[in-house]
């Protein structure tokens, strides 16, 4: 080990306050000094093995990243658009209809048509318009598939 002493202060007559540190003389990338022949050999070497390995690993890494990106893109496309079909790899008519339905804005449900009651029980033409209107508002609830009020009435 080599002693190194750094002075912490300067005075007009000298230095003061020594700080010590040890330097390892073998702490070097090559313990032996290379000869000129070694240096020439190193200079004409085309590519160092470590550099070649790093280039190879970089290529493999690039390939892996590209493959992962392609796979992710395919998976995303399949998740959003569905699996391609065999003839022409295009969507089927049903899938196109589904896509159009998904793209089109939702349309408000049309009011349910007035049920057509038998003519004997529905004297509609005889009712005046001001009494026919409340009947029209009640009828859709009665014609709903659940028909809960009727079932409740039967249970009671």
């Amino acid at each position: 080990m080599i002693q190194v002493q750094i002075a912490s202060q300067i005075t007009p007559l000298g230095v003061q306050g020594i700080r010590w540190v040890l330097v390892d003389p073998t702490d070097s990338c090559n313990a032996t000094v290379p000869t000129p022949v070694d240096m020439l050999t190193a200079a004409v070497a085309p590519v160092e093995p470590s550099a070649e390995r790093s280039l190879l690993s970089m290529g493999v890494l690039k390939l892996g990243v590209t493959g992962m990106g392609l796979g992710l893109a395919l998976w995303t496309a399949q998740a959003w658009l569905g699996a391609p079909t065999a003839p022409g790899l295009g969507p089927t008519a049903g899938q196109r209809a589904t896509e159009r339905a998904a793209v089109l804005p939702p349309v408000l449900a049309a009011p349910a048509p007035a049920p057509t009651l038998p003519a004997a029980t529905q004297p509609a033409p005889t009712l005046p318009p001001d009494r026919a209107a409340p009947a029209a508002t009640v009828e859709p609830a009665a014609s709903a598939p659940a028909a809960a009020p009727l079932i409740t009435a039967e249970l009671r």
């Binding site: 005075t11 007009p12 702490d27």
Partner: protein, 190 residues
């Protein structure tokens, strides 16, 4: 002559205690003697150049090879002076900490380490700018970092024979910046 020199300011920068002395370059640069011109705070002291002015000698410790601008004998020790580095800017007495370049400072410390290891004498690290003379007092973590990373810096820079103080400093500076307690500067006026 008193024991203490009249430094104008002092600050702890990246684990190094920096003492600063400001001077008028027009007046100091006109002095005939080397010490009075390059080390104005030591004007009249017995410091003497080891080699003729302008001649740079090599100093080596392990793989660290330094060629400081000047090495002076001063009492029982040496002064390792750099005055050609830096950017030549004038330093404002109130703003010099902000204008400070840590790489220049670490280069000076590394060069002083090489001189001390080569000559086996205590060595002080100094830098002389356009209007500022600085003395560096590195803390033990800074010295340890520089001393233990010579081989690593040599491998990093792919230098087969030696590493320069500039290369060692640039290799160690980011490591020093992450050491706890070194990054935050603590300044104190003298």
């Amino acid at each position: 002559m008193t024991d203490k020199l009249d430094w104008h300011d002092e600050a702890e920068l990246l684990g190094v205690r920096v003492r600063a002395y400001f001077f008028d370059p027009a007046e100091v640069d006109a002095r005939p003697d080397f010490v009075g011109r390059q080390l104005p705070i030591l004007r009249g002291s017995p410091a003497t150049l080891l080699a003729p002015e302008g001649q740079r000698s090599g100093y080596r410790v392990a793989a660290l090879l330094a060629q400081p601008d000047a090495v002076l004998s001063h009492g029982s020790g040496l002064l390792c002076l750099s005055y050609k580095g830096g950017d030549g800017r004038l330093h404002e007495p109130g703003l010099w900490r902000r204008q400070w370049r840590a790489d220049v400072m670490l280069q000076c410390v590394a060069a002083a380490m090489a001189v001390s290891g080569d000559r086996q004498q205590p060595t002080a690290a100094l830098w002389r700018g356009a209007n500022l003379l600085c003395q560096f007092d590195p803390s033990p973590p800074v010295l340890e970092c520089l001393a233990t990373h010579i081989g690593a810096a040599q491998r990093y820079w792919r230098e087969p024979l030696q590493v320069s103080p500039a290369q060692l400093a640039s290799f160690c500076e980011p490591r020093l910046r992450v050491l706890p307690g070194l990054a935050a500067p603590v300044a104190a006026a003298v």
